[in-house]
Structure formats: structure tokens, C-alpha cells
């Protein structure tokens, strides 16, 4: 029975078992790829671009690795997506979420092989996830009331997050930096106000937090290098010439003096513009576009500090932190909001000169200057610090805290196991599988540290059989230890997000029973 061709040429279709197999394999491959980066002794990866320059990135950050992968497998793409969402939402746990989803699928594969319907597995997983979440909720600690304790919680969380990154050796230093920066935000999650500047040279320990704003630009020639009580006008305007913006416009003149007149007129126009700008009563002018020599000199004459070619990020952030607005016309000085700060001066970091704005309007703003041996180190340090900042700013809002080191997974696994025993029917197999998947996370942490995971996990399980245990894996001393004592903490929000999004992703992939690949769109090969 010849079937009509349903799809276009080159479009393919995979059905039933094959489709499921393809998505399981793809998802597991991705999970295995990032698995070794999990935990304090996780390894790094080199990302080598195949493009020009073969640029190299060294990273430990799950989201960064996955983001740059070029993946064809649709299921694998789902995992990349959840890691990206995790990164956007809470900033940390990007590796955990993928590993957990991978383990859930690995377990599901076994169940499917024993002829359990995917839908049964899904409903089992759902029950288990709900139960696990409740188990966590019962054990959370909330120290919001006690400012002192809350701060130490934040420190612990920051240190736990950083301990798996390149910054681990100086984690106390960086945890303090991150906590200080986040505390300045006073509850807002607007990380824009925290600026991170990377300058090669020195060592990671030389990094510091600076209250204020640092702009990586130069002050114009002959202008004051230091201004107190600065009034800042942030602008995006052309400071070369105001031109007629019609293409091909030209003037016809009949003598050289007329040309000179026009040139003079152009200069006058510019002068007028500069006068208008100065008439705002400012002593600092920051422009996104170039400031040419002529206006630069006019500003210098008026004693105004002019900074040209500040990039998009630079001026938007500067406008934000100094409380000004970006202006592009200067006819109504009253309506323009100027920015203020106490002091502008030129500072030197390493070999470079930067402009430092201190005492800015928005007290939340601060700058973290990262120093390090090479760009690889700096880039990775920035990613790590960013993770820590994200987690902290989330924790400031949702101050519920859990212990770390595999403790939450064991608590959840225990609760889920109990649920499995109470649940009749095939679902209980799925619930049991869920608990096994949860245990895989501490297992991976132990494996990565080169420890005997089977031994440690069984010890840990025995510990957790007692009520109210605080045991987890202590990678440093290679044993099961008391997490509360060692100050290893994680944010509840991160764990919850890991649990829920991993379950959802696994569920989504499980539901698939057919993959249709559309015919690629024809286009000439550009590269």
C-alpha cells in the first residue's frame, strides 16, 4: 500500500519509539556534557569557536556552555532553553537544572522500556515534584527579621555559589563584594546599577568595590581633570556639525569668500549649540557621539569637562545613576533633568586612566572593578560574580534559605520515597524513579570530586533517615558532614526553580512521540 508523500522533499519524520529514543539520547548527551562542571570540584570546559580567530573561552558556567553549543537535536534544545530561563530567572543553578532533567529522562527511559505509559510517568513525576517542593518548604529557614543573621546567610549563599567557580580561592573576598553590592540595591533586583569593569593585570584579590560609577573614557584635552559638585548633562547629539540631512544637498556659491562665510556660519552654529549646552549651568557634559576638536575647545574654554563617545551602555547607566535624563535638544534648559554627583576625577587602574564619578544621586549604584591575570580569567570571573549577584538579589526578596551540599536533594528524595510507598499503582514506579534522579545530583558532585560516590551516598542516606538531619556531602574533607556547621547554604528560590523547570522540561520531552523535521529553507551558502 503505497502512501502518498505527505511532506516536502528532505523533510523527515520520526515516530513513536524511535522519536522518543532520539529525544532521550539527545537530552542525556547534553546533560552528560555539563555534568562534570557541577559542584565545587567541577571541571571547566574550553569553548573553541570554529569561526575566524578561533577565539577561546574557558568556563564552568552551565548556561554559557549550553548557550554557545550548536545543537540539532530538538530535545537537547529544550534543555538548553531551560538552562537559559534558569539563568534569566535566578541566575544560578543552570547546570543543576540540566543535570536533573537529564537524570529524570534517563529514569523515564528505563520505565518506558518496561512498558509503562509515558503519561503515567508524567503524572507520577508531577506528584513527586509537588511532594518534593512541600518537603523543602517545611525545612526552609527564613531569617528576614534578623538583619545580622540575614547578612550572614547572604554571605554563606554567596560563598556556596562562588565555591564552584574560578573565584573559589578568594571566595570570601568576592562574597563580601557581592553582598555589599547587593545590599546597596536595597531590595531592587535591578542589577544594571552594579557595573562590572574588567581590567587585566594584578590578581583576582586586587578586585574591589567602588561606590560610584566608573566610565572607561578619557577627558578631553585641556579640560579640568577634577570637578566637585558636578552638574552633568548626559546627551546624545551630533557634536561634529549640524548638517542638512538630505542626501546630496549642496550649495552653490560664486566666490571663495562665500565658502568661507558658510564655513564660518557652520562654526557659529556649533558655537551656538555649545553655548546653549553650557547655558544649562553644567560643568560636565557627556555625549554618546563624538565631540570634535572645535566644540571640545569651546568646552575647555568654559571650564566644562566634556566626555565624548561614551557607549550606549555607558550613558544609559550614567543617566540612571546620576539621576539625569538623556537629552538631545538644548532649547529648553528648564525641562532637561541634569545629573548630579559630588566629585568627578580621573583615576588610574592598572595602566589605564578612567573617569570616576563618586557621590552619585542614586545611592544604590556601585562599580565592581575586577582584576585578573588574563582576559580568560576576567571573563570567567565576571560570569561567576554575575551568578552570585543574581542569586543574592533574588534572595534579598525571597529570604528563604536552604542548606547546600546535596542536602535538599536528599530531603526531597526521602519525602518522595515515602510518597512512593503510599501510592498504589504503576505511578509509584515513576515516583521512585524521581527520587533516584534527585539522588543523582549529590552523586555527581561526589563523582566530580573524585570521591567514592556509592559509599558516600549510602552514608548520607543513612544520616537522613534520622529526623531533622543536616547532613550533606563535604567535598573538601571528602566525607559526610553537617552542612549547617560548615555554612553551606543555597537560596530556596534557586532550588525550587531547578526542581520545577527540570520536571517540566522532562515532562515536555516525554510527551513527544513524533519528530517532524522540516525541509531546510534553500539559500545560497554564505559562509
Amino acid at each position: 500500500m503505497a502512501m502518498e508523500k505527505l511532506f516536502k522533499d528532505e523533510a523527515t519524520e520520526e515516530k513513536g519509539g524511535r522519536a522518543r529514543m532520539a529525544s532521550f539520547v539527545g537530552a542525556m548527551a547534553i546533560a552528560d556534557l555539563v555534568k562534570t562542571t557541577l559542584g565545587p570540584k567541577g571541571m571547566d570546559k574550553i569553548l573553541q569557536s570554529t569561526g575566524r580567530g578561533h577565539s577561546v573561552t574557558v568556563t564552568n558556567d552551565g548556561a554559557t556552555i549550553l548557550k554557545s553549543l550548536h545543537i540539532d537535536n530538538p530535545a537537547a534544545k529544550v534543555l538548553v532553553d531551560i538552562s537559559k530561563v534558569q539563568d534569566d530567572e535566578v541566575g544560578d543553578g543552570t547546570t543543576s537544572v540540566v543535570v536533573l532533567a537529564g537524570e529524570l529522562l534517563r529514569e523515564a527511559e528505563k520505565l518506558v522500556a518496561t512498558n509503562i505509559h509515558p503519561m503515567t510517568i508524567i503524572s507520577g513525576y508531577r506528584m513527586a515534584a509537588e511532594c518534593a517542593r512541600n518537603a523543602l518548604l517545611q525545612r526552609v529557614v527564613d531569617n528576614k527579621e534578623d538583619a545580622e543573621k540575614f547578612k550572614s546567610d547572604l554571605m554563606k549563599i554567596a560563598m556556596t555559589t562562588l565555591s564552584s567557580k574560578i573565584l573559589s580561592q578568594d571566595k570570601e573576598h568576592f562574597a563580601k563584594l557581592a553582598v555589599d553590592a547587593v545590599m546597596r540595591l536595597k531590595g531592587s533586583t535591578n542589577l544594571e546599577a552594579i557595573q562590572i569593569i574588567k581590567k587585566p593585570g594584578g590578581s583576582l584579590k586586587d578586585s574591589f568595590l567602588d561606590e560610584g560609577f566608573i566610565l572607561d573614557k578619557k577627558i578631553g584635552v585641556g579640560q579640568p581633570k577634577r570637578i566637585e559638585n558636578a552638574k552633568i548633562l548626559v546627551a546624545n547629539t551630533a557634536m561634529d556639525t549640524d548638517k542638512v540631512k538630505i542626501y546630496g544637498a549642496r550649495v552653490r556659491v560664486d566666490s571663495m569668500s562665500r565658502v568661507a562665510e558658510i564655513e564660518g556660519a557652520e562654526k557659529d552654529k556649533m558655537r551656538e549649540k555649545v553655548q546653549k549646552i553650557i547655558a544649562h549651568g553644567i560643568n560636565c557634559f557627556v555625549n554618546r557621539q563624538l565631540i570634535y576638536n572645535f566644540p571640545e575647545e569651546l568646552f575647555a574654554d568654559a571650564g566644562v569637562l566634556a566626555i565624548e563617545h561614551a557607549d550606549f551602555d555607558g550613558i544609559e547607566r550614567l543617566a540612571l545613576v546620576t539621576g539625569g535624563e538623556i537629552a538631545s535638544t538644548f532649547d529648553n534648559p528648564e525641562s532637561v533633568k541634569l545629573g548630579h554627583c559630588k566629585l568627578i576625577e580621573e583615576i588610574m587602574i592598572g595602566e589605564d586612566k578612567l573617569i570616576h564619578f563618586s557621590g552619585v544621586e542614586m545611592g544604590q549604584a556601585c562599580t565592581i572593578v575586577l582584576r585578573g591575570a588574563s582576559f580568560h580569567v576576567l571573563d570567567e570571573a565576571e560570569r561567576s560574580l554575575h551568578d552570585a549577584l543574581c542569586v543574592l538579589s533574588q534572595t534579598v526578596n525571597d529570604s528563604r534559605v536552604l542548606l547546600g551540599g546535596g542536602w535538599p536533594e536528599m530531603v526531597m528524595a526521602k519525602a518522595v520515597d515515602e510518597l512512593a510507598r503510599k501510592t498504589p499503582g504503576k505511578k509509584s514506579h515513576a515516583i521512585e524513579a524521581f527520587s533516584r534522579a534527585l539522588v543523582a545530583i549529590p552523586t555527581t558532585i561526589a563523582d566530580n570530586a573524585g570521591l567514592d560516590s556509592a559509599e558516600l551516598i549510602s552514608q548520607l542516606r543513612a544520616e537522613h533517615h534520622k529526623e531533622g538531619s543536616t547532613a550533606g556531602i563535604d567535598v573538601i574533607s571528602a566525607s559526610v558532614g553537617d552542612m549547617a556547621e560548615r555554612g553551606i547554604c543555597e537560596s530556596f528560590k534557586v532550588k525550587q526553580a531547578v526542581l520545577l523547570s527540570a520536571t517540566e522540561a522532562a515532562e515536555m520531552i516525554l510527551r513527544v512521540d513524533e519528530i517532524i523535521t522540516c525541509a531546510p529553507r534553500k539559500r545560497e551558502d554564505r559562509m
Binding site: M43, Q48, V253, S257, E266, D417, A449
Partner: protein, 575 residues
């Protein structure tokens, strides 16, 4: 109980899996280490005063002869990521300390070699990495304890350390000349208000072919590698100069908007020519009125900075003209001359001028340069004029001088000296070896092998000098064990002497940063277990975004017809 049921299926597959995984990881790590060591071996022979040079022929056919580790590595186009990290490492050392760029790579190579054998004996990479960190902290302590404080007023010590750095270069025979020069150059730009900061950009190096390196000199003032524009017979020597730096052009007017002059009859042509003359003449009169007699004119690509006509008038007005000054140099020039740049003829006022005793065009070899000396209220800058018999020598002299300048700068930043000649490394090795005996477990084992690894520096020094490395290193070790912490290899005499007495000293910062950067880099290489190839699509997208942004930026201000994007950037630079 559920636990055995849970445990069994979990552990079984994980066993086999981890086995396969581990194998691949090890392979990657080994490949990385091998590649990185290959890089280190490439520069090993150029270490030390008797180190050899490398000749590099670049893709464009240019030939470079150098002994500077950072330069060699920079020109080697390595592709392997781990090898690239070693290149970066030497770059970082160049940024931090400026010298010791070869040393840092050689140390990293030796540490990697030990790591390989530690890995082979089954030690987990993170354990190795942690012990390395401890080693680096301890090493910095040991070095600091060995260091001798130095005062900036102690010019001799500074010169000694600069000449140690110069001794290993091609230009070593000139170290007696270049070392004091470097010291003076740096000391003259130190701002007494901020004694810890030195901006090496305040030291300008001008290269001029001809003469020998002997003729290199420090100029208190400015040097331009250009001749004065005297095609129309302008002056070439001006005393009591009043100097103006101008950013406008002395040429017929040109508007930003496109213009065309319509000539309808013959008489008009005459008139236009006359007007042009008058226009330029009036400008020059204004300039002359302020008493200015030297003009530095910024380069412009939009229109001629000066025309033959204006040069002629300027010559008549006895004004010395230097044209085509790059925009980047304006800041340096104005700082030195203590003047302000003038961007419009209307603003040409006497208070914006700089004053100097003498501006003079000097013939040097086949070319000419302009020197400005005796500047009144000179800013804290200085210029070094480097001479040499061929381009290769000049370039190498410049690089060596840069290293020497950096060495002096290090001393200004951190005022400590340490012995050279392999003494600090062997002392480190000895003390770390002793420390290893106190430690317990794996760490002790790792620390001991790293202590051994540090002997690579004296070993290589001896080897490069043609001495028997084993005899030298063992004797050195022996002398250090007897408490002579400053015993080092005297390459000139070919024996072990107290190296401090031989005046072979280097800044502490060079040694400490070499150790800490090398360990940091090795730790990073150790922690890598996989290389993931990333499609350049994501990169491509970034570039495209950039281009698009640029385009939209340009659309708002359409550049002149036929001009390309790069020309737009040129414009930014020159106008």
C-alpha cells in the same frame, strides 16, 4: 527499605560510564598539557643573559629578531586553546611587570610537566590545583622575605636592575647606556603628588634609522620624526619659540555641506584666486599677531592641512611648520608643552601658546627630525630617541628599552629588589621542599614536585650559558642549603657567586607576579576536562549586530559618497 533497590541500578551504570568519561577527560587534559609545554619549550632557549634570539618571519614577509618572550609568543600563531593560554599568560606578565615574560612561560611549562606525572600517579586534578594555589601563596611569602627594600633616590640600585633586564637582550652591550637612560626617563615622569603611579605613556619612544644604538639619547622635550615643512623656504631653527598646536587647517575653506563654486566668466576666476590668497593671508596675519613662530598642525583627511600657498606665506612670516601631527599625539604634546590645542582661528590667543628655548631641525643619518628643547613649565613627560643601524636593531632596542622602563616602573610601584641569576628560584625550591615535609598527604607530594619544578630556571640559565646544568644546579642547591640565600649563577664567570654583589638584581614584582600568574594559568589548564567546539554562528550573529548598529548609526549621518566604514573611523581620528 527502598535504599538497596535505589542504590543498585544507580551505581552499576555509573561505574562503566565514569570509566569511559574519565578516559576521554584525561586525554583532553594530556593533550592540553603537551601543547602548552611545546609552547614553553619553544621560548626556553631564549632565557637569560646568554639566551639565544629567535628570528620570526611573519605572514607578510616581515622579519623580526627578538629575545623578548612576549613578542615571540605573540607572533606565533598558535591554535590549540591551551597553548593560546600560555601566550596570554606571557601577555599578562607583560602588562603587570613588563619583564620576565619568558620566565613566566618557562615556569608554567615546568609546572605542567610535574602535573603530568602527578596525574599519572592518579592524583585528582583539583587536589593538584589546590596545592598549586598554596604553593603560590607560600612562594610569594618566601620571595618577599628575601627582598631588599630600595629607595627611589638610590639611582644606582635602579640602574642595576634595569641593566639586569637589558643584559639578556640583543642590545646587552649597550646596557651601560640604556639602563641609566631608562631610570632617568621613568623618574622624570613620576609625579611627586602620586609617587606610586607611573604612566609609561608619558615616556615617548621615537625611532630613527641611522647611527648606532650608542647614539640613543634622552631628550628633555619633544622630538618629531618629521622634517619641518620648508618647501617654500621656511625657517628650520627658531629660538625663543612660541609654539601653537592647531587643529584647524590653513587652506582654502571647505564646508561640511557639499559646495561648488560656479564660475561664469574669466574675471571671476581671477577674483577667486585672489580671495583664496586673502583668506589664507588673513589667517596667517592673525597667527603672526600673537607672536607665534612655530606651528604644529594636526593631520586632517578631510582637506589639506596646509597648501603650498599657505606654506609660502608661513615661510614669509618666519613661522616654522610641522604638519601631519597625529591626533593621538596631541594630548602628549600639549601636556609636554604646557599649552592648549587651538581648533579655530578665532580662538588663536597668546595664552594658548607654549614656550620653548629652541626648536630646531636636525639632520640624522638620511632623515631629519625636529627637536623642541628648553620648554618652559614642561609637563612631566620625556622622550627617548632610539637610534640603530638597521630597522631590526631599532625595533629590538625599543622592545628592550620598554622592558627596562617597565622594570623601573615596577620598582616605583613596589620598592623592593631581589637577587637575580636563579637565586630566588633555587631558594624557593629549597624552602618549599622543606615545607612539603611538614605537610601531610597528597598535598605534601604535590608541593614537593612543584618545588623541584622551580629548579628549571637555574637549570635553563646554566644550560643556555653552555655550562653543565647538573653540576651548577647541585652546587647552587648546596650553597643555598648552607644559608647563602643570595648565591646565584654568574653566567659571565661561569660559576656560582653571591649574585647581589655582582649587581644582578631584579624587582620583586617581576618574580612574584611570574610565580602567581604561572600557577594561575596552570591551574586553569588543569581544571579543563573538555574542549567544546562552538559554531561560529553565534559569533557571527554578534558581528552582524554590530554591523547593523554601525549602519544605522551611519544612516543618520551619511558619510560622503564612496567612503567606506573604515574611512569613517579614520575621520574620527583625524578631524
Amino acid at each position: 527499605m527502598a535504599s538497596p533497590a535505589v542504590q543498585a541500578p544507580r551505581s552499576a551504570p555509573s561505574k562503566t560510564e565514569s570509566y569511559v568519561d574519565n578516559k576521554r577527560k584525561d586525554d583532553i587534559r594530556r593533550a592540553n598539557i603537551v601543547a602548552a609545554r611545546a609552547v614553553a619549550d619553544a621560548v626556553r632557549t631564549s632565557l637569560g643573559p646568554k639566551g639565544m634570539d629567535k628570528m620570526i618571519s611573519t605572514a607578510s614577509g616581515e622579519v623580526i629578531i627578538t629575545n623578548d618572550g612576549a613578542t615571540i609568543l605573540n607572533k606565533m600563531e598558535v591554535l590549540q586553546p591551551a597553548a593560546k593560554m600560555l601566550v596570554e599568560l606571557s601577555k599578562s606578565q607583560d602588562i603587570v611587570a613588563g619583564d620576565g615574560t619568558t620566565t613566566v612561560v618557562v615556569i608554567a611549562g615546568a609546572l605542567l610537566k610535574q602535573c603530568l606525572s602527578l596525574l599519572n600517579s592518579g592524583i585528582h586534578p583539583t587536589v593538584i590545583s589546590d596545592s598549586l594555589h598554596k604553593v603560590s601563596l607560600k612562594a610569594v611569602d618566601v620571595l618577599t622575605a628575601m627582598a631588599v627594600p630600595v629607595e627611589l633616590s638610590d639611582r644606582d640600585s635602579l640602574i642595576k636592575s634595569a641593566s639586569t633586564s637589558l643584559n639578556s637582550k640583543v642590545v646587552s652591550q649597550y646596557s651601560t647606556l640604556l639602563a641609566p637612560l631608562a631610570v632617568d626617563a621613568v623618574l622624570s615622569v613620576v609625579d611627586p603628588a602620586k609617587p606610586d603611579l607611573v604612566d609609561l605613556r608619558d615616556v615617548k619612544i621615537v625611532k630613527k634609522l641611522g647611527g648606532t644604538v650608542d647614539d640613543t639619547e634622552l631628550v628633555k622635550g619633544l622630538v618629531f620624526d618629521k622634517k619641518a615643512s620648508h618647501s617654500a623656504g621656511g625657517p628650520t631653527r627658531v629660538e625663543n619659540a612660541k609654539i601653537a598646536v592647531i587643529q584647524f587647517q590653513i587652506s582654502p575653506p571647505k564646508t561640511d555641506i557639499e559646495q561648488s563654486i560656479v564660475v561664469s566668466d574669466y574675471t571671476q576666476m581671477d577674483r577667486i584666486l585672489k580671495e583664496e590668497r586673502n583668506y589664507i593671508l588673513s589667517m596667517i596675519k592673525k597667527i603672526k599677531a600673537t607672536g607665534c613662530n612655530v606651528l604644529l598642525i594636526q593631520k586632517s583627511i578631510l582637506r589639506d592641512a596646509v597648501t603650498d600657498l599657505s606654506l609660502h606665506y608661513l615661510a614669509k612670516a618666519k613661522i616654522l611648520v610641522i604638519k601631519d601631527v597625529e591626533r593621538d599625539e596631541i594630548e602628549f604634546i600639549t601636556k609636554t608643552l604646557n599649552c592648549l590645542p587651538i581648533s579655530n582661528i578665532e580662538h588663536f590667543r597668546a595664552e594658548k601658546l607654549g614656550y620653548a628655548d629652541l626648536v630646531e631641525e636636525v639632520s640624522l643619518g638620511d632623515g631629519k627630525i625636529v627637536k623642541i628643547t628648553g620648554i618652559k613649565d614642561m609637563g612631566r613627560t620625556t622622550t627617548v630617541l632610539v637610534r640603530g643601524s638597521n630597522q631590526l636593531v631599532i625595533d629590538e632596542a625599543e622592545r628592550s628599552l620598554h622592558d627596562a622602563l617597565c622594570v623601573v616602573r615596577c620598582l616605583v610601584n613596589k620598592k623592593f629588589l631581589i637577587a637575580g641569576g636563579g637565586a630566588p628560584e633555587i631558594e624557593l625550591s629549597r624552602q618549599l621542599g622543606a615545607w612539603a615535609k611538614v605537610l601531610q598527604g597528597m598535598e605534601s607530594y604535590c608541593v614537593r614536585s612543584f618545588a623541584e619544578a622551580l629548579e628549571v630556571i637555574p637549570y635553563t640559565l646554566a644550560e643556555n650559558a653552555g655550562l653543565n646544568p647538573i653540576t651548577i644546579v647541585t652546587e647552587l642547591r648546596n650553597r643555598h642549603a648552607q644559608g647563602e640565600i643570595n648565591a646565584g649563577i654568574n653566567v659571565r664567570k661561569g660559576q656560582i657567586t653571591n649574585i647581589l654583589e655582582e649587581n644582578v638584581v631584579q624587582p620583586l614584582l617581576v618574580s612574584t607576579s611570574a610565580i602567581s600568574l604561572a600557577t594561575e594559568c596552570v591551574r586553569m589548564i588543569l581544571k579543563i576536562d573538555d574542549i567544546v567546539m562552538v559554531s561560529h554562528l553565534s559569533l557571527f550573529k554578534k558581528e552582524r549586530d554590530c554591523l547593523w548598529r554601525l549602519q544605522s548609526f551611519l544612516l543618520r549621518k551619511p558619510p560622503q559618497r564612496g567612503k567606506r566604514v573604515c574611512a569613517y573611523y579614520e575621520k574620527k581620528k583625524y578631524l
